[in-house]
């Protein structure tokens, strides 16, 4: 028991010595400006890289959207096409065995026209 108390006292003493020496070593004077300058530079570069990345992404999205619009623009069915098909079907239905078959025929003709237009492009 006496031995344990001795050890504890010795440890307490060592801990006190180490504690007191904690402030002995310092950071050098030039560390602060060095850290702040490097951080500002790095953060600036990081922002620049992020801006370039975002701008490239936006440009790519716009480019893809424009190319999709350009390639599919001529084939997309239009409201005007639907009206024409409906009108043609109405005219054909008089002697073509009903409005349903006339609509199918008008729609097939529209698809043929679209196909020809796509091939000519």
């Amino acid at each position: 028991m006496h031995n344990l108390v001795d050890w504890q006292e010795r440890y307490d003493e060592v801990e006190a010595l180490v504690q007191a020496a904690g402030g002995y070593v310092q950071a050098s004077d030039d560390l602060r400006p060095r850290v702040l300058e490097t951080a500002r530079t790095e953060v600036g570069e990081l922002r620049g890289r992020r801006w370039v990345r975002q701008a490239s992404l936006a440009a790519a999205i716009v480019g893809i959207a424009v190319s999709i619009r350009t390639t599919t623009g001529g084939i997309e069915p239009k409201i005007g096409d639907a009206e024409v098909v409906y009108e043609q079907a109405s005219q054909k239905s008089v002697g073509a065995g009903g409005f349903g078959w006339a609509l199918v025929q008008a729609f097939c003709e529209l698809r043929e026209r679209q196909s020809e237009k796509l091939q000519s492009d």
């Binding site: 010595l17 007191a20 002995y24 070593v25 310092q26 850290v35």
Partner: protein
């Protein structure tokens, strides 16, 4: 002895300011933590220049991604862990982990009223530098950062029992070395 709450809270405040204001708020975090971080890193790298490089790399990373630190449960413990990782990376790169028997690389404070204690401080630092890195870092975190074994275990990613055991070994060695140093000083 638990980590002083006010210091942890001050680190959290600085971290929050950094997250809100950006790199302009880094100076306050540096002023608050640099001395402790350099001191911790010096015991790992055993070289002042390398320790400052580790602290610089860590704080620059924090400035670039402040939310990383702000989101941590304990920003101070996280910062210590970051500096430890940077220090170990430097050690691996430079293969400079051996025992150092001098203090010539260190930037030290010499106050007039502490001149008498300087020899003791030097003996303590030499004794700490002679410890294996695993034991030295536990001593630093336990005594200078006033952390519990459980808190230290989280930073070092070891079990609290392992940490406590390393501390016991370290204290035995320090006690022997400091006693020897004191006897040599008396004879000199």
């Amino acid at each position: 002895m638990a980590l002083p709450d006010d210091f942890s809270q001050r680190v959290r405040d600085c971290t929050d300011r950094l997250a809100a204001a950006g790199v302009d708020a880094l100076g306050a975090l540096f002023d608050l933590t640099s001395h402790r971080l350099v001191r911790f890193s010096v015991t790992l790298t055993r070289n002042q220049h390398d320790a400052e490089d580790a602290v610089q790399a860590c704080l620059v990373k924090v400035a670039g991604r402040p939310l990383l630190l702000a989101a941590a449960d304990s920003p101070w413990a996280y910062l210590l862990q970051m500096v430890r990782n940077e220090s170990l990376a430097i050690i691996r790169r430079k293969r400079r982990a051996g025992v150092v028997t001098s203090l010539t690389d260190l930037v030290t404070r010499r106050r007039i009223d502490e001149l008498e204690q300087e020899e003791t401080h030097r003996a303590v630092w030499l004794a700490i530098r002679s410890l294996p890195q695993e034991q030295a870092e536990v001593v630093v975190l336990k005594i200078w950062e006033a952390m519990t074994f459980a808190e230290i275990a989280q930073i070092l990613e070891a079990s609290p029992n392992t940490v406590a055991s390393r501390y016991q070994y370290a204290m035995s060695k320090l006690a022997a070395k400091l006693t020897k140093a004191r006897q040599e000083a008396r004879h000199a």
